[in-house]
């Protein structure tokens, strides 16, 4: 479709979506954990903006709320928490990913194609203005998945996990203007708790192995 046909705010939305995807690619390639966290924060911010836009456009009250949630949780709290953690634990770099960057990128591209294809039928049905971005949401989720697969540090895996959450959130929003409030709250709560649990976790792992390298966590297996 040609962009000019669309009203400006929608163009903006699509751009935001594109940026989200771009960010997840950046995360996929990024090895410096501090930067990873910053990227995550930016992703959260973009989500927040997108939500606000939608809220303004549709006038759906609960979207403002969820935008607020996003801001509080994903832009401010979590990045702060993670930064604090890495400062305490002193992990700044992830080691070389399992698959080298270019390879990962290639796979990422394939994933994008795949998920766009996947999203076609859904987008066709969607009545929302942002229907085209469903594919992007799927792509973000899958790429985050890929990120988690390729990383060796617990921390960066968590970041991947969170960006997956972002993808999901974006998907929910673009497909259906967000879930019912009760669910939104529930999800947010879960994410929050998960992060707190993680905090505890990291310290436990640290005091055991004095490192967050996942290769210490490969002893339980069948293949002796």
């Amino acid at each position: 479709m040609n962009m000019t046909a669309l009203p400006f705010d929608l163009q903006l939305l699509n751009t935001l979506a594109a940026l989200l995807l771009l960010l997840s690619f950046a995360m996929l390639s990024q090895r410096r954990i501090v930067t990873l966290i910053n990227l995550l924060a930016v992703q959260g911010a973009l989500l927040c903006i997108a939500t606000l836009l939608l809220a303004w456009r549709t006038g759906a009250g609960h979207l403002y709320l969820s935008a607020g949630l996003t801001l509080a949780l994903k832009v401010i709290f979590l990045p702060w928490l993670l930064h604090r953690l890495i400062r305490k634990l002193g992990v700044y770099w992830d080691t070389e990913p399992l698959l080298n960057t270019t390879g990962t990128m290639l796979v990422g591209v394939l994933i994008v194609v795949f998920s766009f294809g996947l999203a076609q039928p859904i987008s066709a049905l969607a009545s929302t203005a942002t229907r085209n971005s469903i594919g992007i949401a799927v792509a973000v989720v899958l790429i985050a998945f890929l990120t988690m697969i390729t990383r060796r540090k617990a921390m960066s895996q968590v970041v991947g996990f969170l960006s997956m959450e972002n993808g999901l959130f974006f998907g929910a929003m673009s497909a259906t203007y967000g879930m019912p409030m009760i669910v939104e709250f529930g999800v947010a709560l879960d994410v929050l708790v998960a992060m707190l649990v993680l905090g505890v976790f990291f310290f436990q792992i640290r005091e055991q192995f004095d490192s967050l390298d996942l290769q210490h966590l490969e002893s339980l297996k069948e293949d002796q």
């Binding site: 998907g171 879930m179 999800v187």
Partner: protein, 489 residues
């Protein structure tokens, strides 16, 4: 007593318990308090059940919760096993404390999380809102992660981490599935779709839901909740988590959490099948089921750790259940529900016995556990009987359900029967060759500071035995009703 009130008690007790024990859980009498809360929960569940029997299904709290033939007996089962496990964990945790493996802070965490875990499972079972169900499932994971790592050993940390990440990622897929479901439902049930995530509503309109979307949704849901069920190849967190946590937790994970996850999968399957009007979801389930059964059967051969062994056996049985639900139809569903019941009873009983056995031997390695019946016949016979039951030996109930499943398989999926039987045979050899020396022979075990909790073990086994010989009519009617609800061809 009205259903609503009972229901509030049912959900409120464990939540309150979590709170109270969160403050006082380290005290010497905390285990008894834990039991008391569980008992109250169980009583509430019984009361609720009797209400349902008399008045039929109910929908509560602006339709956010509901009780129907399918989940009512699971609620009772969950509450019951919760109670017996609490009973078992009384002496067990005391012994752990005296062995110095657990301090009072950890004990507090343990008790509070135990209650919380119960609450989340009860919510997941009773909620009508698929979104809420997802939240509860995730909460169930979170509440148990720290229990898996309770001992702070490297292995337990690794197990906990894997549990957290794999289930977290899995459940995230389930969320996406839920979103898609919502997306499809919204079309039918209107904007702001108040009821768009309520299972009861969806069930009514399932035929109109958009197949293309629902098939995608189902994939995400299946992979998501399937991870928690422990279907191969998504099962990898399960043996670690079972083996490294405290045994009561292994018992409830195996006996209850897997059931709840399975429940979620089936709920979704009902909707999707209704919309697709095809046997595709069923076939997927069968595929996962068979794969799990076969892989687990062979994994069993390499086990050295007692709890790990039975964890794999859980994967195997979840596979059987999944396969049965996949086949669908009144008999298969009936059998699957029966199998869910007997498996959770038997498996938790086994974990009780194994728990005491490991404490006696001071090790979880099966080579270190020898000749239980010479020192403590009750634990030994409990383990032996439990294992034989789980292996599908008559006259225990597991045989009844496996008999039904196999015969139905011969009818509907003849090709699958030999595979199933082969796997069952392999599993039999594997498990039994390891259990026998644990129970028989010269002993290595030592006495325990506290008498082992035998009531739970033998109550469970007695129930399983009864189900093998005689299924009470009302229970059978439950199963039938639920089977009808689940449907399938």
């Amino acid at each position: 007593m009205s259903s609503t009130l009972t229901f509030v008690v049912l959900l409120g007790t464990p939540l309150l318990g979590a709170l109270v024990l969160g403050l006082t859980g380290g005290k010497r009498w905390a285990p008894n308090l834990n039991v008391a809360f569980s008992l109250l929960t169980f009583l509430a569940a019984c009361a609720l059940t009797s209400n349902i029997i008399t008045h039929g299904n109910v929908v509560l709290m602006q339709e956010q919760f509901f009780i129907d033939a399918f989940n009512v007996f699971l609620v009772t089962l969950t509450a019951f096993v919760g109670l017996t496990t609490a009973l078992f964990s009384r002496p067990y945790m005391r012994i752990e404390v005296e062995h110095g493996r657990v301090n009072s802070a950890q004990l507090r965490l343990y008790h509070s999380m135990y209650q919380l875990f119960m609450a989340t499972m009860l919510i997941a079972l009773t909620t009508n809102n698929l979104g809420l169900m997802w939240v509860a499932m995730e909460a169930a994971t979170l509440s148990t992660v720290l229990l898996v790592t309770l001992y702070r050993t490297p292995a337990s940390l690794e197990a906990g981490w894997k549990y957290f990440i794999l289930c977290g990622v899995g459940i995230a897929q389930a969320l996406f599935g839920t979103i898609l479901l919502y997306f499809a439902a919204e079309k039918i049930l209107g904007a702001e779709g108040v009821g768009a995530l309520l299972w009861t509503h969806l069930n009514v309109v399932k035929a109109q839901l958009e197949p293309a979307v629902l098939s995608l949704a189902f994939v995400f849901l299946l992979v998501g909740y399937g991870t928690k069920v422990g279907l191969a190849p998504l099962h990898n967190w399960l043996p670690d988590a079972h083996a490294e946590g405290p045994t009561p937790i292994s018992a409830v994970l195996s006996g209850l959490l897997l059931n709840v996850a399975m429940y979620a999968v089936v709920r979704c399957k009902v909707l999707v099948e209704g919309s697709l009007q095809s046997s595709l979801p069923g076939r997927m389930l069968m595929g996962f089921g068979l794969l799990s059964v076969v892989l687990a059967a062979f994994f069993l051969w390499r086990q050295r750790d007692a709890k790990r062994l039975f964890a794999y056996s859980s994967i195997e049985h979840m596979g059987i259940i999944t396969f049965a639900f996949g086949m669908g139809g009144p008999v298969a569903n009936f059998a699957a529900l029966l199998h869910m019941t007997v498996h959770s009873l038997t498996k938790s009983a086994i974990f009780f016995a194994v728990g005491h056995a490991t404490q006696k031997a001071g090790s979880q390695l099966m080579d270190d556990i020898r000749g239980l019946i010479t020192l403590s016949p009750t634990v030994g016979w409990g383990l032996m009987m439990g294992s034989l039951a789980i292996l599908g030996m008559p006259p225990f109930g597991v045989f009844a359900s496996e008999f039904l499943i196999l015969t139905t398989a011969m009818k509907q999926q003849p090709w699958a029967t030999p595979i199933l039987l082969l796997a069952l045979g392999v599993a039999f050899a594997a498990i039994f060759s390891r259990v026998q020396p644990m129970v028989f022979g010269e002993t290595t075990a030592k006495r325990l500071p506290h008498p082992p909790a035998l009531v739970p073990v033998f109550t469970h086994l007695a129930l399983v035995l009864m189900l093998g010989l005689f299924i009470p009519p009302y229970l059978a009617d439950w199963y039938r009703a639920a089977a009808r609800l689940i449907g399938g061809h």
